[in-house]
Symmetry: C2
Subunit: 355 residues, 2 copies
């Protein structure tokens, strides 16, 4: 395949500008949470009210601390870069730091940035721009295992759940990669595929490039996008599902919602409806596709209600049901490793005896 | 909505270059077949082996005959324009003809073309470039009626069937518009949406822009793309289905195929499987969606076998089954107008009596 993913050089420094935008703050906080070991600090301009808790630096201190990239979030509505941020970006590029951004404008088109990058020998990574040369999806069966997070809606925990499952699989000694499909996920993973910017014809092919052939025991844990019953975005979800050819999937769900957020005439589907639809569609490229768990977002309910919800969805679906943040993902990881035993591992003898 | 479709000025002249490419020839022949009244002639370079049967002209004769546009097909594999064609394109642009092309390069990027267009006051229409400002799909119910052609595979008659149904509805006095979604269809219709080039997030929205609110009795007959069980392109088909919110659909099918063409590990679905899947998915934005007929491509079978096939698929699906080219679309148009009576028409009294 010709298309390849650009990789973010580590360690990095996060540039917060004077930003107060919530989405931007989430990206920055996610970077510090999931990639803290690779983050040497933050650069803030006067007036900035976001604090990710890492050391405050300027460009030269960041360079001295070993930073190889400056990561700029999608600071503002519309994905533009405020004018008073540009000088810092230029200084970092001129100092040899790669600039990484998910803006709607290309970094090259900001005044002085291309020149500074030439002087500093640094790269400009526009992570909202898909790689060139993406193929049309082939449907060819690839080696290795794949897990995809789906949801009953957008913004209901698909990225967080995938990150947590990837982390927890590694903790168990399983060879696993988080595969990012959105801006924040790509910044956290250091590479990935900006699916929302891929031309429609190449969506399945982009998902295939994102998750290539791998060792038989390796898991790609793929960040889902959109939702299967979403009237605006379902095509993205389905292209990702078919190109990912997942062996297993999780359904993420916010039990407080009753409608698709922002599309109030569309009722939220049940997790069971999503499971049924995902299997019906996903069989095309993986006849063995199955659901291995439900991830609820119960951050806004009290413990008693949480316990009731987890039990209720587990009963309804017959699957392990967790809140990845509150309960952890153990129940789902157990189920996954039970359904897909690692080939290098001896399967426990007592299970053999009972089979 | 901000996005609007560019319209091709008529009459036009077809530029065949010295092209012998089959796809190109099909586009040109389709233009002459479906838009003959708007076609003043063809311009051919020495060595051209394609003849659409309309008068041979040069640029100035075309201008004198009233041509307002020069239509250039996607002449070659890769969608590039041969160097020896560029002079004619420049001459036409300088003479005031709009240039219409579905190339992978933009007309502006060909040497001399932008200058010539400035001198001639002509427009450069790159019909593979979607309009800017496309929205995300809203799922909002629009007024008017919509018919979509689906298929068991790509290249099995979706465009031809839609064109034939649009023509035949008009013959019955029904207000109808053909809505084009691919390059050839857009050239024939004079406007449309190049769905294969739309960014994934905006696919449903693009389908909504293509088929806006209309009079209650008006039919948009929408050219389908891809196929619901196609491992490379199903996301395009599904985005179009959901954004189109069709009241009715047709399944186009080539009964000689057994696998998805070019994806030989994927068996061709039956028309019945496509009907079931289209209804399951399409209900999201139109709960009343239904199939009103099967369009077979029987061009390569003998009359006895054709009759057997038409009867067999009609029996299997309980729907009118036609070959649009050989038998015409009457049976499907009858079914459509029966299921969706025109409100200005009196419904026949004898039907009332039997209800």
């Amino acid at each position: 395949m010709n298309a390849s993913l650009q990789r973010i050089q580590t360690p990095f420094v996060v540039f917060l500008g004077d930003g107060v935008d919530e989405i931007f703050a989430k990206t920055a906080l996610g970077l510090v949470q999931w990639r803290g070991a690779d983050c040497v600090g933050q650069i803030r301009l006067p007036g900035c009210r976001v604090d990710t808790g890492v050391p405050d630096l300027d460009v030269h201190a960041a360079r001295a601390a070993g930073a190889r990239s400056l990561i700029v979030g999608s600071a503002t509505v519309g994905g533009r870069l405020p004018e008073n941020w540009v000088a810092t970006v230029c200084a970092a590029a001129a100092a040899g730091l790669d600039i990484v951004a998910g803006l709607h404008v290309r970094l090259e088109d900001l005044p002085g940035v291309a020149d500074a990058a030439r002087r500093g020998g640094s790269r400009l990574l526009n992570i909202r721009v898909p790689p060139t040369g993406l193929p049309v999806g082939s449907g060819r069966k690839r080696s290795g295992r794949r897990l995809l997070t789906l949801g009953t809606d957008c913004a209901c925990g698909k990225k967080y759940t995938a990150l947590a499952l990837d982390r927890d699989l590694r903790k168990r000694g399983v060879d696993s990669s988080f595969r990012a499909t959105g801006q924040t996920g790509i910044m956290i993973a250091g590479e990935g595929m900006p699916l929302d910017a891929v031309v429609a014809d190449f969506l399945t092919g982009a998902a295939e490039v994102l998750s290539p052939d791998a060792d038989p025991d390796h898991w790609d844990v793929i960040e889902g996008q959109g939702a299967l019953f979403h009237p605006g975005y379902l095509q993205v979800t389905i292209g990702l599902l078919i190109g990912s050819q997942p062996d297993a999937f999780i359904v993420c769900h916010d039990p407080r919602r009753t409608v698709i957020e922002g599309w109030e005439n569309f009722p939220l589907p049940t997790p069971s409806a999503v499971i049924e639809r995902a299997i019906a569609l996903g069989r095309l490229t993986n006849p063995q596709i199955r659901c291995v768990g439900i991830a609820l977002n119960t951050s806004k309910v009290d413990p008693a209600e949480r316990a009731r919800l987890l039990a209720s969805y587990a009963r309804e679906t017959g699957l392990p049901c967790v809140d990845p943040i509150v309960t952890g993902t153990d129940a789902i990881v157990n189920r996954l490793l039970e359904e897909f035993p690692q080939s290098q591992r001896e399967r426990p003898q007592h299970r053999r005896a009972h089979e």
